[in-house]
Symmetry: C2
Subunit: 229 residues, 2 copies
């Protein structure tokens, strides 16, 4: 291989993951207690370093998988953070990713093993380095993305109630929504399948379960339809 750029500086490239989950009422992020210096013992995002033979998306997948056992979830690059002294140990540039997972799916044991813990985004502890600002940006991106694309479903179990969906959007947008207007809007999008099944946990009456109809959404999208909440 040619090596035309040999005089240029090389740097460490970290990948940090903001992992979002939704737990009935609250939007949460998964944090880990850092077990190495610097800042050992402080709460941190899941992170690792890019390797020579992988791209950033792959590194993010690998890091998530290694630290939590979680695979095949929605993940998207957020932004790169490059303040010269952001990591006191060594010059490191960090590329942040955010992931959306169905909180019920995660293997609690694996997460325990690594001292990972879910925190409400409203009550999360102070994080190392520039991780606080990464989380802030991730929430803002999540807000934008979930209002333009049907990504919210990634945070819910496959079968969910209208109320759960509404609470999810309320948590993401950090505002109360009108029940009737919300349901009317979702129904007008016509991308859910209403099941005959009811969820009996939340009330005596029970509430109908729905599923996201991904195929229908794709078809409609191809025809120019655009999701908007």
């Amino acid at each position: 291989m040619l090596n035309t750029y040999s005089t240029e500086d090389k740097v460490l490239l970290a990948v940090d993951c903001i992992i979002f989950g939704f737990d009935k009422e609250e939007l949460k992020i998964l944090l880990i207690k850092r077990d190495f210096e610097p800042e050992k013992g402080k709460w941190s995002l899941m992170g690792g370093f890019l390797k020579q033979n992988e791209n950033l998306d792959q590194a993010a997948d690998r890091i998530l998988s290694t630290l939590t056992g979680i695979n095949n979830v929605y993940m998207e690059q957020l932004h790169s953070y490059s303040k010269v002294d952001r990591d006191p140990a060594e010059r490191t540039i960090s590329v942040a990713y955010y992931a959306l997972i169905n909180i019920e799916d995660h293997n609690a044991e694996l997460i325990e093993k690594y001292s990972a813990k879910w925190f409400s985004i409203k009550k999360a502890p102070d994080l190392i380095f520039d991780h606080n600002i990464m989380v802030k940006h991730a929430i803002s991106r999540l807000r934008y993305k979930t209002s333009k694309e049907p990504l919210g479903f990634e945070l819910l179990p496959p079968k969910f109630t209208m109320r759960q969906l509404q609470k999810l959007y309320e948590a993401i947008l950090n505002q109360k929504l009108d029940k009737r207007n919300f349901i009317n809007k979702i129904n007008s999008l016509d991308i859910l399948i209403k099941l005959d099944e009811k969820d009996m946990n939340s009330s005596r009456k029970g509430s109908f379960l729905y599923m996201f109809d991904e195929e229908k959404y794709k078809r409609k999208k191809a025809e120019g339809f655009s999701f908007k909440v």
Copy 2:
């Protein structure tokens, strides 16, 4: 300094800039003829490498300044590109930035010196590596950003006509807009200053010049107003 991460791989971090300009009718990007291998002689974005002692924003500024003499323009990080073999010479991750400049301000001489050239985004040549996709993403980001924030003015001279502004938005959005509706909407935002001066170049009648009232915009924004075109 500690060096806790010494076993990790280091990589070259490139910064590539998509420089947007607007020339009466068309949205343009500034390209450069690459004068070193690999891909010498092909058209490329302006690029360079991150140095140890600067952050990415600073690197982007430095690169733009070095290659064009352009300083103090709106610039924003876009995305990082990391395909393993994206640069055949060596493993390189590129962080793309986009800049908005008033095309009249650029020093034509300096640009000539570096074989840089403006191309309409509709007629731009094929670019090296993954630069085509970067441009595509940048246009998409520009569309989003200029519809939510008053960034379009960065691409115009300080004094501009309504028609120029409309043509700018038409070029960015790649669609015709209705003259009356456009003016009504812009006027309703109430962030322009109408001057007594007319621009006599475009018609016999002449058309009034306007300026963006940045102070007023900031005041309104602080009060909860949000720009939306």
